[in-house]
Amino acid sequence: MRALLAIIHRDLLLVMRRKSEVLTALFFFVVVTSLFPLGIGADTALLRKIAPGVIWVAALLSTLLGLHRMFAADYQDGALEQLVLSSQSMVLLVAGKIIAHWIVCGLPLVLLAPVIGIQFDLDAGSLSVLMATLLLGTPVLSLLGSIGAALTLGVRGGSVLMSLLILPLYIPVLIFGAGAVYANSVGLDTSGHFSLLGAILILALAFVPWVSAAAVKIAIE
């Protein structure tokens, strides 16, 4: 447990010392989602309709921007070897790195979503559903992304390959995340969407840290 907190603390500290990389991804999210209302104009009915999809797709892409940082820097300076050789289980350390990534790249999206939503003329009910779906969905994005980040370690042009590997896996999260907001806006029940998002999150939590830890060990060998 102490090691888990230590690795989260370490990764957050490293981000604080080099803020530009993270701010780029967040700025990307804000800019892309702001371009749509500007481009489409003041057709509020249309904006309200496309809002969930646009915000969710922007969230996927901005998560992807920060993913390569998860293991690549540690791989290059040899710290990843030291983590594998430390007297901690690699699964725990990988889980710590995923949590740190979510705090930096996922949580801000949840907090920014209401501000972005206002540009799309979403009402309070839709905004809260949007935040709740992002809260359940963004951890899944970080978890699944860690597999891609670990598998493409040391591969030239790895970030393009990672996008190809990971984006298809994000599709269920996108469908149920955006679907919940849309269902809420037309007055349908959203509990099914939330149950499925929760199930995906639990499934990912149960398997992904082991898969990513194995992928990291293969990359180091």
């Binding site: 500290l13 430390s86 007297s87």
Partner: protein, 215 residues
């Protein structure tokens, strides 16, 4: 190729042994049928030309990579059986310094202490850094240090790590003559406390109880 390095040991558990190691990189077989045995208080100096497989051998001994055939034993038990227990006793320093450039020397040392499950109060960490001439630089980010000073941070880590087995890849690189002497003293000290050391170096090193393995 066989090296047998044993003095009479009070603790039979502290033996690093390799049986019939074979290492293949790509299409090339680097070495095969390599046996070695190092016991408490002894140092093994692996020598050979560039590309002959020194680093590969060290990585096999740490368990980072798996041999094509053969096995590595720590205390008569294969290192793949309980890797976490083995890693607790092992300190491996590779080519790359594994220090986070944006963290200070002190933060790096303390972070590794937590990950390695070693209790390290701040005074002890500072004392270790000061011993290797980093007084006044302990709170500088590591990217402000020179290559030699980074190696000195690693020496402080070796001192505080409390590992039995040190596997060091080119530990004398980038060090000035005084630091080379200090590192040799540190290794000799470790051996005298019953530690084991495997190292590679192209320089002449004078360390007690040292045997040479030519690859």
């Amino acid at each position: 190729m066989t090296v047998n390095l044993s003095t009479i040991s009070s603790n039979p558990a502290l033996v690093l042994e390799a049986n019939g190691l074979c290492c293949v990189r790509g299409e090339r077989e680097l070495f095969s049928g390599l046996n070695l045995r190092i016991s408490t208080g002894n140092c093994l100096h692996v020598r050979g030309e560039n590309g002959v497989g020194k680093t590969s051998l060290l990585r096999l001994l740490t368990g980072l990579s798996k041999p094509e055939s053969g096995e590595v034993l720590w205390g008569n038990q294969s290192i793949t059986l309980d890797p976490i227990a083995y890693h607790h006793e092992l300190l491996f320093l590779g080519h790359r310094d594994a220090l986070k450039e944006d963290l200070t020397a002190l933060e790096n040392i303390q972070m590794y202490a937590v990950l390695d499950d070693v209790a390290l109060p701040q005074e002890k960490a500072l004392a270790a850094l000061w011993r290797f001439g980093l007084r006044g630089r302990e709170n500088l980010p590591v990217n402000c240090l020179s290559a030699g000073q980074k190696r000195r941070v690693l020496m402080a880590r070796m001192l505080t790590r409390q590992a039995k087995l040190w596997i060091l890849d080119e530990p004398f690189n980038a060090l000035d003559t005084q630091a080379v002497q200090e590192l040799q003293n540190l290794i000799a000290e470790h051996l005298s406390f019953g530690g084991l050391v495997v190292l590679t170096s192209h320089q002449e090193v004078s360390i007690p109880n040292m045997q040479v393995l030519e690859l």
